[in-house]
Amino acid sequence: MTTSLTSISAHGALKGFLLSAILLLTACSATTINISGTFPAPLVQKLPLTVGVFYDDAFTNHSFIEINDNTGDDQYIINSGSSQIELFNTMLPAVFEEVVQLDSIDSANALNGLDAVFIPGIEEFQVGLPQKTRLNVYEIWVKYNMRLARTNGDYIADWVMTAYGKSPEETFQSVDAGVNDAANVALRDLAASFTLGFGNVPEIKEWLRSENFLEE
């Protein structure tokens, strides 16, 4: 009887310890937010260009870590890479006559008929959480570096674009949902300014004119 009681007590203590350990580990670990969404194809006149697009690893696997101000630990890991790819894969074929995805920048030279190579990149990513900003909105701000190059590697244009998205905080809404909504608004914002502003980037405008891609 004594043995049995001891065994039960030891078993209970072990369970209690494991439970505490799991709770402690869960409390310390960062929450991962995978941004997901669908984007409409922009309604614009296509430019008569065949463009190769190259997404580097940093862009494809883009991840941002929000630090907990009190503890200094990772609080949220925001993975936006796959959504960025989804957005560009929807947007670029609507802007250019033909889009070819490249495995490397060097492979552009081997392909015939490419007019230019486009390489998007993310320079900065910021998130505003209501618990930190004291505003009742989730905010996402992204700074992009866009590059357009000739197939031989010479740059045509290298320019910066910013995207901003906010989403109002709602009752019983999770942080994941708030951040995801704000990120989707930011990605739409980027697509809007890219599609309407691409031809207005001075270097690109000049190049389009010189190569007779623009209808006068």
Partner: protein
């Protein structure tokens, strides 16, 4: 057992729980004021549509999607209902022309937009006659009171009182796509005080401020566009 400290007996609680809400129900009403400004005559036929869009350019607030949907529901239902194109469907189909950064802010911008063939064709495809821009917010103020809740082995309960004021201010600006001009605007200002007495259980007596602003604005908008609002 905090309740005993406030010299209430359990016998009086059911009576209080009934009487207090009854008293405050009469008080938690909403005042709604609607102003209409008409610049030009309007009319719409059954095969034409409108779209109601929320303004989202402002830094510190954005017109709630739920409010836009609510007004669209009011306009699209009942007598003299008008066909309303779903906001998200319209935004996706017209992408990127009606995003927060790119949406036309004035009717002059609308003229520029209509000069873009793909955009003008899509608008015609929808059969949209009027674009209604909704801009506004519901703000909460004058929050006071406190409610404390206790849970013990014998049960639990809350006691206290809370009150707050909601103020909804929205403006609808109506653009005519034929004349590419603003034909008028309707503004609504609704406010009301809500109460939350708690005697064992909290009883929310919510003033339906935003709902009243929505139905008032929606019905006025319906009359305005049908041409009977003059």
């Amino acid at each position: 057992m905090n309740i005993l400290r406030f010299k209430f007996t359990y016998n009086s609680i059911p009576r209080l729980a009934f009487v207090l809400p009854a008293i405050f129900f009469l008080c938690s009403c909403t005042t709604t004021e609607i102003d209409e400004f008409r610049q030009s005559p309007t009319a719409i036929s059954f095969d034409e549509s409108i779209v109601i869009l929320g303004r989202r350019q402002n830094n510190n607030y954005e017109t709630e999607e739920d409010f836009v949907t609510c007004v669209a529901d009011v306009v699209g239902r009942g007598q003299n209902s008008i066909s309303v194109v779903d906001e998200q469907l319209f935004l996706d189909a017209m992408f990127p022309f009606f995003e927060p950064r790119t949406a036309p802010m004035r009717t002059g911008h609308l003229e520029q937009l209509m000069a873009v063939d793909v955009a003008a064709d899509k608008l015609e495809e929808f059969g949209i006659e009027y674009i209604v821009w909704l801009d506004g917010i519901t703000e909460r103020s004058d929050q006071s009171g406190s409610i404390s809740c206790t849970i013990g082995p014998g049960g639990g309960g809350c006691f206290g009182f809370g009150t707050w004021t909601d103020d909804s201010n929205f403006e609808a600006e109506i653009w005519d796509l034929d004349t590419m001009s603003s034909v008028g605007s309707i503004s609504t200002d609704a406010n009301g005080q809500s109460y939350m007495p708690a005697v064992v259980i909290p009883i929310p007596l919510i003033a339906r401020v935003e709902a009243n602003a929505c139905s008032g604005l929606g019905n006025q908008l319906k009359q305005f566009i049908n041409g009977s609002g003059t």
